[in-house]
């Protein structure tokens, strides 16, 4: 195994493209190091992207923020601007692992690990966030929801890696929230998860919504019918019940050591309901 720490994105991309063996990108390392320890992967090349200019920056852009791919959870959580605009995205990210893991983990890493249970991804998809990807043919932008394709697999081509994620600006009276279910209070992988992002009109009715589920399908799942269930409502009980039902209907989970199909299906709806209420409150809605 070789370890490289390029100073530019182009250099990193070239290293990744030229390596014929197995490559891994190292940002926070909180997944890669576990895979190394478990012997799940024996990379020929590890590319540490933390020394690439700009990758540790959080920059305002178009009313939103561009988050460098090497920004850790602890750094993002300390950024008042991002926390104020996209609290649901930040809380999802901050739920990953321990304080120690937060000191290193990155959203781009969480995304590229390809886990359907990745805590930061539902919030990013709900936020319509866009990844900027550097590759052999230059830069391209890609919506977050198009990056995971299957458990452990992502759509990036050889030589490509994410350099930043753009969290867009958003209208007034908007809010988002993320909830996951774990058996303990910390340190677990999500058994089911839901992110809700919504915008209200002055009367407190939902005029735009995105509902995304985690850990209940091979990839995170944007659930259109769930958003439709709350559009035009003030999250009355009937709307919430419809939201929960739509979420449960969209689940196609597995039985495993972390939870059962029945449990995940039912709890996904419960979490969506609860997350919607938090997002609603954050958007200024009165309940």
């Amino acid at each position: 195994m070789r370890y490289a720490k390029p100073n530019t994105a182009a250099e990193a991309s070239a290293l990744l493209r030229q390596e014929t063996g197995i490559t891994r990108i190292l940002a926070g390392g909180t997944d890669v190091m576990v895979q190394l320890k478990a012997g799940l992967v024996e990379p020929d090349l590890i590319v540490d992207i933390k020394h690439i200019g700009g990758l540790r920056d959080i920059t305002p852009e178009a009313g939103g923020f561009r988050i460098g791919a090497a920004v850790s959870g602890a750094e993002l959580g300390a950024h008042a601007g991002v926390v104020g605009l996209w609290p649901g995205v930040v809380e999802g990210f901050e739920l990953i692992g321990s304080t120690q893991v937060q000191g290193r983990a990155t959203m781009a890493g969480n995304l590229c690990n390809g886990s359907p249970a990745a805590d930061s991804v539902p919030g990013l998809v709900a936020a319509n966030a866009v990844a900027r990807i550097c590759g052999p043919s230059g830069e391209r932008d890609c919506p977050i929801q198009d990056i995971p394709v299957a458990p452990g697999r992502i759509s990036l081509a050889k030589g490509e890696f994410i350099t930043s994620i753009l969290l867009p600006g958003r209208p007034e009276r908007s809010g988002d929230a993320y909830l996951r279910f774990i058996p303990r209070t910390e340190m677990d992988i999500a058994v089911a998860a839901a992110a809700v992002s919504l915008t209200l009109d002055k009367a407190g009715k939902v005029v735009a919504a995105r509902v995304v589920l985690g850990a209940v399908a091979p990839t995170v799942k944007l659930v259109g019918p769930a958003a439709d269930a709350i559009l035009g409502t003030s999250l009355d009980d009937a709307a919430l019940a419809a939201l929960a039902a739509a979420c449960s209907a969209a689940c196609s989970p597995i039985d495993d050591k972390r939870g059962t199909i029945v449990f995940r299906t039912e709890v996904a709806g419960v979490l969506a309901k609860r997350a919607a209420l938090i997002a609603y409150k954050r958007a200024g809605g009165q309940k």
Partner: protein, 747 residues
């Protein structure tokens, strides 16, 4: 001495909370644990493990591994002698499989190499040809006549004909007329329960450093609860004489019973013997879960009858335990402990140990008792609920007390159960209001506690300080407690005493740190060693004063004339006597060696409040109080620590911890991530109430306290959850999917 049994002894040091002697080393990172020592020229040992739950080993080809540059030794079971003794044979075969692998993670070969990378590469070059065999991991399935046979011919003579071959032993306890008892009951409740295997979860993985020289002498450094036991097992497995093997116990990063046997130590010694170099083996966490010992898993039926006013008329339990692929006697303990908290006219327990394709069970805090008492205390609680009775009143009404013929046979002497129950009843926790959705549960718990073989030396240094050499690894502050008892007995300040733990060559045999025995038995030996030294010091002083030795007494750390008739002499302090010891006959030391008896049984009662999220099945522990009889708490902080730590391990067992097996018989969650021990944010403060009902078998009244606290949480949590959701839970762990499924079934 004025004998007034109503006057409790007034202690000066015992009962105080001095700093532990190893404190600074441990808070500065200087303390040396199993993996923290190295030797010049040391090799790295690694173990190859079975990917199968059950398979015949057709062949093992180690030639490619041996040929790899940097590999210095490769071993298999062929490098260990075949043992005649069945217990030793099990230990050997658990350390290194012979002929068959019996569980996922079972060791099949090991290498010693220059670096971890070479060792890892070498493991990949060992070719093992397996023939997969049908496996069984569930205790109830393993009892069926058609179940795959884990090991044939292992049944004891007490197993009735016709039972499945996996059943290795049967036991039965109890007394009285069950039929008459049940006939007298107003209500009989009969329920079945299961508990999952759980791991001790010590944070320090097993680690050792072995160094054997060509003349067959060896040194072994390892983290263990019993260096003498390690010596005995390793010497037998390697065909060594005990005197040639010196075992030093490192500081130990948790054991809870799990470090009472050997796994890697004989392997490291065999690799060192073969390579001629020191070899260090450190287990990974994955290996710890897969290949060291968890508890038994269990399946239990309980039937209890009660009168309308809450008198238990009869109790019966059938217990099926599986301690993995080898025989284990834990069922005997569970079947004896099940009804120990009750004064019963009619009681019967029947138990079986069953083989399954799982790692060999190793003791975990009060081994066997938590499962059995969980089942009994759950049924008692259900009876109370159905009869509209207060669960504490019912327990008070039926509690075992002095003079009760215990469910396992002997008659109890002074025990603290009544006092513990009364303390729980008087505590504000018991009457604090509960909100809707919340539930309160309680359970009693019991453990036998042991004494055992113990050996202590106590040296009076010439500067008036005292050194104690004992042989039991200190897991939770026992060096402090032992120093306290020595200081108390000698009448000197705690700071003047230093206790160290000897290697196997420096002190005679000591049983393992187990059975909650150390503060009791080593403490007792220390007191007696101090008395031995005192006697010698009094004799020296008598010679100096030219009076009879009997005319000198020891008080407040000084030798004094026993009375006016003995003569007028100013008292001599220990330091003064020590200073002239070379002139009065040489060094002064006290010793005591014995097989300690008189360990008093221990009872505890736990109270817990929980809140259950009915939409997700998640349980939150809101409040927790532990009441326990410590006999006499030598260092109350560490007694509280045992009570709190045991309670939290029990909470983990009740709510989330379990060994999860796939269809393929492989362990699915061999890591802290998915094994789910409680983390700090899961828990409230754990309040403690120490009762002190002196143990008549110890001069200070000390009882063991370490194991009992893990017993009550299982039923306390189950009863609390059951009351919170209005449904009786009967399966551990009560993980959220199980609680939600129970609630859904009700809807």
């Amino acid at each position: 001495m004025a004998l007034d049994s109503n006057n409790k002894r007034v202690f000066k040091v015992v009962g105080t909370r001095p700093p532990r002697p190893d404190g600074i080393e441990k808070v500065t990172g200087r303390a040396l644990y199993g993996a923290d020592v190295s030797a010049p020229g040391m090799l790295v040992g690694r173990i190859l493990r079975s990917p199968h739950a059950h398979a015949a080993i057709l062949s093992i080809d180690t030639s490619a591994a041996e040929a790899l540059a940097g590999v210095k030794a490769v071993i298999t079971a062929q490098d260990f002698a075949v043992q005649d003794d069945s217990a030793l044979r099990d230990v050997q075969e658990n350390c290194m499989a012979r002929g068959k692998v019996l569980y996922d993670g079972h060791a099949v070969a090991a290498v010693a190499a220059l670096t971890p990378a070479i060792a890892k590469a070498a493991l990949k070059l060992i070719k093992v040809t397996y023939k997969a065999l049908p496996h069984v991991t569930d205790v109830d399935v393993a009892m069926r006549p058609d179940a795959p046979v884990v090991q044939a011919g292992r049944s004891f003579e007490n197993v009735p004909a016709g039972m499945a071959e996996n059943v290795t032993s049967q036991c039965e306890f109890g007394h009285g007329d069950l039929a008459a008892g049940f006939a007298a009951a107003a209500l009989i409740v009969e329920r079945s329960f299961t508990t999952a295997a759980v791991h001790q979860g010590y944070i320090e993985p097993q680690a050792c450093l072995a160094s054997m020289t060509a003349d067959g002498k060896a040194d072994l450094w390892c983290c263990t609860q019993g260096q003498y036991h390690v010596r005995a097992l390793c010497a037998a497995l390697l065909g060594m004489e005990a005197s040639q093997l010196r075992v030093t116990a490192s500081e130990i990063g948790g054991g809870f019973g799990g470090k009472t046997t050997v796994f890697i130590e004989p392997v490291a010694l065999a690799l060192s013997r073969k390579s001629g170099k020191p070899v260090k083996i450190v287990m990974t966490r994955d290996e710890v879960f897969k290949a060291t010992g968890p508890t038994v898993s269990s399946s239990i039926d309980v039937k209890i009858g009660m009168t309308k006013d809450g008198r238990i008329t009869a109790g019966e339990a059938h217990l099926r335990y599986s301690g993995g692929a080898f025989h284990c006697g834990t069922i005997d303990m569970g079947a004896q402990a099940a009804f120990a908290a009750y004064d019963l006219q009619a009681v019967r327990t029947l138990g079986w140990n069953v083989l399954t394709n799982r790692p060999k069970e190793v003791a975990y805090r009060a081994p066997g008792a938590p499962q059995a008492i969980y089942a009994v205390e759950s049924v008692v609680d259900e009876l109370c609920q159905k009869l509209g009775l207060d669960p504490l009143d019912v327990r008070l009404k039926n509690a075992a007390r002095k003079g009760t013929k215990s469910s396992y046979g002997p008659t109890f002497d002074d025990i603290g159960l009544m006092a513990t129950l009364e303390a729980a009843k008087a505590h504000p926790h018991y009457t604090a209001p509960l909100a809707p959705g919340q539930g309160r549960g309680l359970s009693a718990g019991f453990w036998f506690n042991f004494g055992g073989n113990t050996c202590v030396s106590l040296n009076i240094n010439t500067d008036g300080t005292v050194g104690i050499t004992e042989g039991n690894p200190d897991i939770g502050g026992s060096r402090a407690a032992i120093s306290q008892m020595a200081a108390e007995e000698l009448g000197i300040p705690y700071e003047k005493v230093r206790t160290i733990i000897a290697d196997t060559s420096s002190l005679g045999h000591n049983d393992i740190t187990d059975g909650s025995r150390v503060t009791f038995a080593v403490g007792l030996a220390t007191i007696k060693a101090a008395q031995d030294a005192i006697q010698k010091m009094c004799a020296r002083v008598a010679t100096l004063w030219e009076i009879d030795a009997e005319a000198v007494v020891w008080e407040d750390g000084c030798a004094k004339p026993s009375g006016p008739n003995a003569g007028q002499f100013p008292p001599m302090t220990l330091a003064e006597i020590a200073a002239i010891s070379f002139n009065t006959g040489g060094p002064i030391a006290g010793h005591h060696e014995f097989n300690a008896d008189g360990a008093g049984v221990s009872f505890g009662v736990h109270l817990v409040d929980v809140e259950v999220d009915r939409e997700t099945g998640a349980t939150k522990v809101l409040r927790y109080t532990v009441f326990q009889d410590a006999g006499k708490a030598v260092h109350p902080s560490y007694v509280e620590g045992q009570m709190q730590g045991g309670a939290v391990q029990g909470i983990g067992w009740a709510l989330n911890e379990e060994y999860i097996y796939g269809e393929d018989g492989r362990l699915q969650n061999a890591g802290f991530l998915d094994y789910r021990v409680p983390v700090a944010s899961d828990l409230p403060n754990i309040e403690t109430v120490i009762l002190e009902i002196p143990n008549p078998g110890h001069p200070y009244g000390v009882r063991g306290v370490g194991e009992t606290p893990i017993v009550p949480p299982l039923a306390a949590l189950s009863n609390a959850v059951s009351r919170a959701i209005g449904l009786r839970m009967n399966r551990l762990p009560m993980s959220p999917p199980r609680i939600l499924a129970a609630l859904s079934a009700k809807r």
